[in-house]
């Protein structure tokens, strides 16, 4: 067998030799062997599974906590071993890093070998071609040199790389084709490494944040304005580009037909954007699948909800609160919850609210919404008075009311425009009207371009690697009594159903004179 067939054979699993140097060489060989790559790939697949079954910290931290609370024995153990953050866990990283080390160790020598092969001539014809599995012998009326000339013309016409020679067996020609197969394979594997680099670069230097913006209000890109913000290790919040925008209007439409009633159908936000604080503002729209690009940053529309406009007056009738408050949707029909905190009233007032775009009352479950559009909006409220607990120093969520030091004064349901006078002269709450809010994800991922280029190369490399055939062929012509005896043989990398017939074609084409070209033996 020539090196073409044995290029890929795996190293025999010899026992580790004694001595440190020998051991390391042995370990490196093992790590970079095809079998190890295969096993690591299988491990990678298996290791990815738990992350699709268990809730994940990065996707849904609330469900992670619920899961752990519901499974007091296994929960903490799984948490300790990173099962709720699989794709950032050390053992997951260990598998793919080993795989990529193996990959580098595999690619480097192959790249050198391939670079040499690209410059080398096809190898000398073996003495006995008929020993190769794909070979054929035909007799020709032409002289041996003429046969080889003809063979050369055939090969060259099909852009094979050729080499001619002569030995005691007569003249021969060697031809080789399909170097792109190995090139493509190397490009594919190198592209995977570049892809990993792109992903890693993006996660170190990239950042993303989420913010809720109420219709009519604005956002400017500084850390304090975000509800949530997370950045890679190499990012400083002072790097944020100083753009800003105003959400002028938000539109949402829902399915009104029987099937999939209430399913979202259309969302759109109208924005006025300023690239930099002094820049000329411009209008644009943003939708799902239509992110906004500004200053190297992308703004995505990722959610929406309702924001009731609420005015609270204190015992004296003075306005102590007047704002639109984003309520968070709890289900597909936008039953939404929200909280109003009025620290300026004495005593302090806290309101837990339930906003229902299409209000209905269930005898057991209480108020809920039956449709996501505001067909019949209502606001259900519970008012609390006492101490909001804002001075304890602990950070409080704006969506949760700490009622530990408060007492419930009453409950009421309001339509837009109605006012509720709190019991015991505690003041009043007016539900003026409501508007919508939209939530945006604002992200910067500098590794994306690298990743995209890498996958493009990977796919092209893969196609070359899978569909280009690497073939080697030889033709020998031995002078006979009349004319010559032509022997042709071929060798291919991998399976090659057509090699046999190619060998026959070349042999006949070389052996026959032009009139009989194409005649089969």
């Amino acid at each position: 067998m020539s090196d073409l067939a044995s290029d890929l054979s795996t190293q025999p699993a010899a026992p580790p030799p004694l001595g440190t140097k020998g051991f390391f060489r042995w370990a490196w060989r093992q790590l970079t062997s095809m079998r190890t790559a295969l096993i690591l790939l299988v491990f990678l697949a298996i290791a990815s599974i738990p992350g699709s079954i268990l809730p994940q910290q990065g996707i849904d931290p609330v469900r992670v906590n619920e899961w752990i609370a519901n499974n007091p024995t296994s929960g903490p153990i799984l948490k300790r071993f990173g099962f709720f953050d699989v794709y950032a866990s050390p053992w997951f990283a260990a598998i793919y890093l080993l795989l990529f080390i193996s990959l580098i160790g595999c690619i480097l020598p192959r790249s050198f070998m391939h670079a040499r092969a690209l410059r080398a001539k096809p190898p000398v014809a073996p003495r006995n071609l008929t020993r190769l599995s794909s070979s054929t012998e035909v007799s020709s009326e032409l002289g041996s040199d003429a046969v080889i000339d003809r063979a050369e013309r055939v090969f060259r016409a099909k852009r094979w790389r050729v080499r001619r020679g002569q030995d005691e067996g007569g003249p021969w020609i060697a031809a080789e084709k399909g170097y792109w197969r190995e090139t493509g394979n190397l490009v594919f594997h190198i592209a995977l490494i570049v892809l990993l680099i792109g992903v890693g670069y993006g996660s170190l230097w990239g950042w993303k944040g989420n913010v809720i913006v109420v219709s009519g209000k604005g956002f400017s890109d500084t850390l304090t304005q975000y509800d949530v913000w997370g950045g890679g290790r190499m990012v400083s919040p002072s790097d944020l580009p100083p753009f800003s925008f105003t959400l002028n209007e938000f539109t949402a439409e829902f399915e009104r037909g029987e099937a999939q009633r209430g399913a979202p159908r259309f969302f759109e936000g109208k924005l006025t954007v300023r690239d930099t604080p002094g820049a000329v503002p411009y209008d644009t729209t943003i939708g799902v699948n239509e992110p906004l690009s500004v200053d190297g940053v992308k703004v995505f529309l990722v959610g929406h909800g309702y924001a009731p406009h609420i005015i609270v007056r204190d015992t004296t009738g003075a306005v102590v609160f007047d704002d639109t408050v984003p309520f968070l949707p709890q289900d597909g029909s936008f039953t939404s919850t929200g909280v109003v905190k009025v620290p300026d009233a004495t005593p302090q007032i806290g309101i837990q609210g339930l906003f229902l775009p299409t209000a209905a009352l269930d005898e057991i479950l209480g108020p809920y919404s039956t449709f996501p559009a505001p067909d019949d909006p209502g606001l259900f409220m519970s008012a609390w008075v006492g101490d909001l607990g804002l001075n304890t120093g602990a950070t409080q969520s704006v969506y949760r009311l700490d009622t530990a030091q408060m007492t419930l004064t009453g409950r009421e349901a309001l339509r837009p425009g109605e006012t509720w006078t709190l019991p015991d002269g505690m003041g009043s709450v007016e539900f003026v009207d409501f508007t919508r809010w939209a939530s945006f994800q604002i992200a910067h991922d500098p590794g994306q371009g690298i990743a995209l280029i890498a996958v493009t190369f990977a796919i092209v490399g893969l196609l070359l690697s899978l569909f280009v055939k690497r073939r080697r062929m030889w033709v020998r012509a031995r002078p006979a009594e009349t004319g010559s005896t032509v022997v042709a043989a071929g060798l291919a990398r991998g399976d090659d159903e057509r090699l046999e017939s190619l060998v026959n074609d070349v042999a006949t084409a070389a052996a026959s004179d032009s009139a009989q070209n194409g005649r089969r033996k």
Binding site: L44, V199, Q260, A263, F267, N289, G303, L463, E497
Partner: protein, 322 residues
Amino acid sequence: MTETMGLAELSLLVVYIAMAIITMAMVAFAVSYAGSRAKKLVVRDRVPALVGSAGDSEPPAVSAVEPVTELPKGRRASNVGMSLTWLAFAVLLVAVVMRGIWAGRVPWGNMYEFSLTSALGVLAVFLIFSFFRDVRWLGIYVTTVVLLTLGLAVKVLYTEAAQLVPALKSYWLIIHVSAAVICGGAFTIAAGVTLAYLLQERRLRRTPEGQEPPVSRLPSAQRLELLNYKILTFAFPLWTFAVVSGAIWAESAWGRYWGWDPKETWAFITWVIYAAFLHARTTAGWRGRRAAWISLVGFLAFLINYFGVNLFVQGLHSYKGF
């Protein structure tokens, strides 16, 4: 409204007709097996009279060289099966196109439509394949799979919804899903070929040394193994593309190209397992049976991604929400 609803109902009716035809095709293929068994035919591969010159590189099997004047019973039944399969494909195509016209968009916006299109994809891959090889032996498998898929579609997944949730409104829906559907067809056919390979391989292993293995209607183990590889070399790059186009789409819809959503995770797992298969095929000691099992596991991962994740797991891809 009633007029457009009519088109959806008509489409459903045509799906039922396609299912009836598929059932008949399945019976025909089953008969062809029974027929050939009973007569103990020695027809292994193509009958020479039927060997087309174009694209057919396989040498006719030696045992079938005797001239055949009349088609044997089993063969006639399998030819009927093939014709019915073509008919079913055409009818199902009509149903899918009607559904698309009714909805005013590509007919793969929900699980029901996705299943119809997938069944069509399996049939298409099978029929295209039949131009190049004699794949009648695979007919019983293909018709069974298609019938199950369609049955699930009309019984469990049927929906009257025409419109899409906003995240699906993108031309990536066309690119990404059509790539995935063709891959689904190819993976399904490849799995059938692998099953046949494992059967043949076991038959070979059970044959005592020096004895001829018993005659079979299936192609040889060696040829089946190569066939599986060929289908997967076509499907793997396409799957790679499907995953990449999904990532590009996810970036524009959700603001990140990869988020380990269950659907993404299983697409990745499927990809990694098929990559492992391609490696196994060139690794000493893994080629053959072990590689075949790896490719079957890859298909299992694909199925989990298709059914399991869509129907049972909460995630961005569950076709609900934003």
